[in-house]
């Protein structure tokens, strides 16, 4: 148990030993390929577009319904006053 704790502490390192700069490594494998970036960009663009159209459409329909409700209620007002 003690050995495990020691080992874990050693891999984390002391704050004084942490990186103070980043330098490029020659010939390192890329973390993600170009296809991932392309798919991410297209998914993001299309999802945003569809979401924007749908949310605006729903908002317009919601306000239209409330206006209709209100106009119906107003139409009943003269009868009440009579």
């Amino acid at each position: 148990m003690t050995a495990n704790f020691t080992s874990s502490a050693q891999t984390r390192g002391n704050p004084e030993e942490r990186s103070t700069q980043f330098v490029p490594v020659e010939g390192a494998a890329p973390a993600t390929d170009a296809g991932t970036f392309m798919v991410a960009a297209y998914v993001l663009m299309w999802l945003c577009t569809v979401f924007f159209i749908l949310i605006t459409w729903r908002k317009a329909r919601g306000i239209q319904n409330r206006v209709n409700e209100l106009q119906k209620a107003i139409a009943k007002l003269p009868q009440v006053h009579e």
């Binding site: 392309m38 960009a41 663009m45 317009a60 306000i63 239209q64 209620a73 006053h81």
Partner: protein, 257 residues
Amino acid sequence: MTKKDALFYGILAAFTVALLYTIPLIFLYTPTAQLQAGGLAQKIFYFHVPVANGIYVTGAVCFIASAIYLVRPSETANAWARAGSDCAAFFGTLVLCSGPLWAKKAWGVYWTWDPQLTTLLLSVLIYWAICLLRAFAGDGAAERRFAAALGVMGTVNLPIIYISVQKWGGNHPTVIREGGGGMHESMWPAFIMGHVTMTLLLPPLVLWLRSRVALLQATMEHTWQEALTRGMVDHWDEVNPADEALPNAPGNAPGVR
């Protein structure tokens, strides 16, 4: 269905068909560009540039409607100015999301303070500022005039974005502009279809929807004023025997602003 509704559904159908045609055209039939341009990630270009041009279209609508509102205020001019700034912020956000993903592969970084990127960011921030102003500062005459003035100012920056590449250089590609090397002929169909979808069809679609929302909000405001003038709140139980809740006042209704 009115003529306007028919036109809207026509554009929506054309947009859907164009989008469904453009996607396989880009992914399956357009060749991959050289590695220095981003390789496979260069295909982002076929939507990135048309969406960027969408900012010019929606920004122009915002500019014209805002200028008209400043000279002769009307509900219609305000609605289109609002729609223009909302849509320009939307298109600007798409460009700022798609560009860095391509830049990471082509340049090795997500962002650089290139003149064109910086001026674009500035414009998008102005359009977002207009959206926030309209959303949170109320809808009075002063707020509308201030938003319209910002709309004019924001759009004045758009030509600067375009000419910044020629004037100040930077990393941004100039492939199809003056001094650029052009594209291979096999890449043009995807580029043209990208423009048909995202520059010609999408801006009218979202502009029409957003202006409709703004006009309906104004109608809601006027209808509510009429209801208050005629004492509807006092007589609500009499006009509404079904015991439904009182329709929300414009300022209190969630999602109205």
